[in-house]
Symmetry: C2
Subunit: 326 residues, 2 copies
């Protein structure tokens, strides 16, 4: 397999799934995050979920919306995905999802019904209920925002900002699936899987967190694989190199398309090299394909390689994805 | 003071703050709420916040958005109110607000900055942090949705659906304030109050809940005083009568306008008659004006009276506000 590394760099650097994350850092500055002073609050912005200490447990809370274009293209799938991305925000932290609340704004009853059907499909698949919310039945737009509560054991949460130089980068995802008919940037494995398998997949990061096998991790979201790794190392204040040859990919899907896809059930972690085989084994035990695909490095450079040539994808001393420094 | 009860009935029955709640019940039917099967889940739809049992505590989670017209009229005040209504969702349940997450979608950087300024104003006033969220920097609309996590003591939560026939209805609110310059339906007391007073006001329902002094309660939200009482008794499967002469009201504000206002810091509770003076005392100790304004009754009729004449406002055997039955 040959890779046009320069083309990959051009495509990824201009990929909207990544560039639309750029305003986050400067907007957070407006938030005055130093106001967050409670000692119970263990993690906030830059993480997939905020972490609050509570007795022997950690409470996790996250919120996520979906792109309007997905809502317009396929409201039912949009409703499904809104639930899915929230469950992943908790799963990625090593947490157990407990329940969700939603704010649904709509102007079309038909769209509303389809969105709710999609949410219900996902609630049934993943067994995480919608517990309440708010309804705007009279808006000029159709929007669904969801927030989720999760629980993790104290000391067992997986953060994004704690990757260390020398860590291996391991990617895990479910390669059994399809390009979703409504979006060529959505890899859909979950609608084709049984509940029992999904429960195991969602559990994988929790097992890794409780066994203290990884330093950092995230779910692979709209910025795609390289965008997600980029966010993890940017917030960790590190660099990385990823070997294109090692990236697990469904057959028949173009590599650049794959790199831009939301894989539906995918995670990246940074772990000490000595834990590599154990981490991969945990993922595989949880019905996920996993492989070591790169290394975290000191510095600010995120490069990709094909084994012969290495090219710079981002230099976080000049470039930014979110601009959040952990 | 004389009241044109028929005019009040006409105005309240056609008030958009109430009528826009109508679709909720039928939409909830689409949600298949029977899927919520976990024994840890103590309350869901129809409550200001969902309630989940966790150890010796209850976790509360709620989500709320704001009317688009408020966002267009005054983005900074909209950002402030989005935080305020979420804090009230937790306070109304007798909970302590812990932190929030937001989904912010915008098309104008200027609007975004103003919204965040408003959120920050409220975060500073109420000392409840924004802990994370999601950003859509490229939408055709400006929207802010917020979700909040709260904690309450087990057995001390105040639900909406548990008002009992014979209970007195007590209203509490902060009459020291102003009609907000950006919305004649927003009574603003909180921006004029010190943090210490706000903390006490937010605490009032928690004190009532922990002392088991009330059967049910809600914060007075966009449906206004009568709309909020209506939602409480509708979901409780009861009727009520409210005496217009007893309703605390800021001087110089028209009664019909007042009945449609979001009072910014207002609650209604249903309590056993023997607790009336104690409940009023608790509210007043927390810088809120409080008065007994009505009685919960068996049946489905919600009436208003001026002491001489009594007229029907809603009959929940035919009418609905949310249509949710507790």
């Amino acid at each position: 397999m040959e890779f046009d590394l320069d083309k990959i760099v051009r495509e990824i650097r201009s990929f909207e799934g990544i560039t639309r994350k750029n305003p986050i850092g400067s907007i957070l500055e407006e938030f005055n995050t130093e106001m967050i002073s409670s000692p119970d609050i263990e993690a906030t912005f830059g993480e997939d979920a905020a972490v609050i200490s509570h007795g022997d447990d950690l409470l996790l809370i996250a919120a996520d919306g979906i792109w309007e274009r997905l809502m317009n293209a396929d409201p039912r799938w949009a409703g499904y995905c809104a639930v899915l991305v929230n469950i992943h925000d908790i799963a990625a932290m090593g947490g157990k999802p407990v329940g969700m609340v939603d704010v649904l704004s709509f102007n079309s009853k038909k769209t509303c019904t389809l969105v709710i059907e999609g949410m219900r499909d996902a609630v049934k698949k993943f067994d995480v209920p919608i517990l309440g919310g708010h309804l705007h039945p009279d808006t000029p737009y159709n929007i669904l925002d969801i927030a989720i509560l999760g629980i993790a054991k104290k000391g067992c949460v997986i953060l994004s900002n704690s990757a260390e130089a020398g860590d291996v980068i391991i990617m895990a995802c479910d390669l059994e699936g399809r390009v979703h008919p409504s979006s060529n940037l959505n890899w859909d494995s979950t609608t084709l899987r049984d509940k029992d398998v999904l429960k195991e997949q969602i559990n994988a990061m929790r097992v890794l967190g409780e066994a203290h096998l990884v330093h950092a991790g995230k779910d692979i979201s709209n910025p795609g694989l390289l965008g997600t790794i980029g966010m993890m190392i940017e917030v960790s204040g590190k660099g990385a190199i990823v070997d294109m040859r090692r990236i697990p990919k469904p057959e028949g899907v173009d590599m650049i398309q794959w790199l831009k896809m939301y894989p539906g059930m995918g995670f990246v972690v940074a772990a000490e090299e000595r834990h590599t085989s154990k981490v991969i084994e945990v993922f595989e035990d949880h019905y996920l394909s996993a492989a070591e695909i790169g290394v975290v490095e000191e510095g600010t450079i995120f490069s990709i390689t094909d084994g012969e040539k290495t090219v710079k994808l981002f230099d976080f001393s000049q470039d930014r994805i979110t601009g959040i420094k952990g």
